[in-house]
Amino acid sequence: MIVKGLIDPGKHFISGNFACAEAALIAGCRFYAGYPITPSSEILERLSSRLPMVGGHFVEMEDEIGSMAAILGAANAGLKSMTATSGPGFSLMQENIGLGMITETPCVVVNEMRSGPSTGIPTRVGQGDIMQAHWGTHGDVESISYCPNSVQEMFDLTITAFNSAEKYRQPVIMLPDQVIGHMSEKIVVKQPWEYEIVPRLTISSRKADDKLVDFSTDFSPMFLAGTGIRGNFESLTHDEMGYPSNSSAVEAKMMNHLLGKIRDHRDSIVEFEKYETDDAETLLVAYGVTSRVMERVVREGRNKGLKIGLFRPITIWPFPDREIRKLSKRVQRIIVTEINYGQYSHSVRENSDAPVEEMHFPPGAVPDPDTVLKSISKPAKQEKHRREKGK
């Protein structure tokens, strides 16, 4: 199906935020609710102008709590919906991300990572929301989080995120950092029919005794408001009729369904990229803009004869555990490089047979490849930052 008003196929020079907004329209997003926050505001601004052009709806909410609730409401009325924010707003959204998880509501949340904690440095880069993207909301959830490292990927992964949201029926997180959002690069847009767009699976009719959700299958259709299903959308632990329950057996069954639908399909979700890892003795793990730095480090390091490679998770969550494990058996050491004080390194260490070192970069600046290369060439002092004061 061709929809007029989408971005023209061909080459464009646009920012990551604009690419995200345009990709959302291609993916079928027709509802956006958000609250302005640096560095993600351009997504909101772009969609405020673009959504009405394709018959979509835009609302600037009173806060991020309301924004997240509103996109869940719109999703349950049948529209593909999205919001975008940054750290402080992402913290506010966590409660309703949990609502999206338990009620299996598809939507996309873009969290552009800036420096933190709290207000931090709004205009500067950080990668401190990695753990929050998985463990931000209370209770157990399996997160699907994508971390692009270029504007092209910001575009492509936004479409993927919408597709995953529809397929797995839950909020999906886009986790670019500030640099990717604000950076302008070349993107190549394909013809609209070349993109695979996953449509929403919905219940078309239901008899009174029919189940509302089938916990025994991973992909059950969702009921939409106003279609005569008379379903109950429930934030409480609920059974297959959608009715609340205090029973731990029902909770177990529901959780088994919610977590299982991601865990069982982990292989078709997980995406990653390897660079010069075949004979690497030192393996760098990096994501987002840091991976671009490390690509340069690997290139220059190889020129100097260092056997060094890069593993880049594209899906930060689900964690590419098996891939890390496999590589860790071959390399002598793994260095996790991230613009925070050690987050992803925990998961890497948990899944690595090789010793894992951490290289922290303080939020606010993109690391310099020369400095990184110098410190890799020397044996690294592990967890330097954390221990300096104690000694």
């Binding site: 020079f13 205009t123 640099v179 604000h182 302008s184 690069e185 070349k186 340069r296 490849p369």
Partner: protein, 186 residues
């Protein structure tokens, strides 16, 4: 063409980011890879703003600018705060009316030579003379194209027309004037 780094620096309102976009989309038309990052002060008007571009034939890994090959300084602050990082073989393009480059190292007065070549045209004056005082950035665009050849003049024209569909003519004029003014350094 190997990786080249550009830094544009000026005051808010001078069209620094717009100039970055013009250069970027023109380079794209030349078939290059481009990565542009931007930064600005918290004040919307009256602060500083800068745009950094990396242009290359190859895929760009590290997307940020460390040592610019070309610095476009549209105000004094832009010149002063960046001149120290300019290396041998790099070029500094200034709006000679707004930037006093006489004190700069490498200009003969100071003992240390930066080896960067400093060139200036009166971009703002050109813009004012054309009756479009805001098109100083486009005049600098012409200047850059003349000096560096990146992007090519043809692509620059195209990117101007795409960017300013309604005000293409006046902007093309500003570009031409800047381009011509750059001729004196050849």
């Amino acid at each position: 063409m190997k990786r080249k780094e550009f830094r544009i620096y000026g005051s808010g309102g001078q069209g620094v980011i717009t100039l970055g976009h013009l250069i970027g989309s023109a380079a794209l038309l030349d078939g290059c890879e481009v990565a542009m990052t931007e930064e600005y002060s918290p004040q919307i008007t009256g602060g500083w703003s800068s745009a950094d571009l990396v242009i290359s034939d190859e895929e760009i890994d590290y997307p940020l600018v460390r040592n610019p090959d070309y610095l476009l300084a549209l105000n004094q602050e832009g010149f002063d705060s960046n001149i120290a990082r300019m290396r041998k073989g790099s070029a500094v393009l200034v709006d000679s009316e707004l930037v006093d480059s006489s004190d700069a190292p490498g200009n003969g007065k100071s003992g240390e030579m930066s080896h960067a070549i400093i060139m200036g045209v009166s971009a703002r004056k050109i813009a004012v003379s054309l009756g479009t005082p805001n098109s100083g950035n486009v005049a600098m665009f012409g200047f850059l194209s003349r000096i560096s050849g990146i992007p090519t003049k043809k692509s620059c024209m195209e990117s101007i027309k795409k960017r300013f569909p309604k005000r293409a003519e006046e902007n093309v004029k500003a570009f031409e004037k800047g381009y011509d003014a750059g001729g004196k350094f050849e």
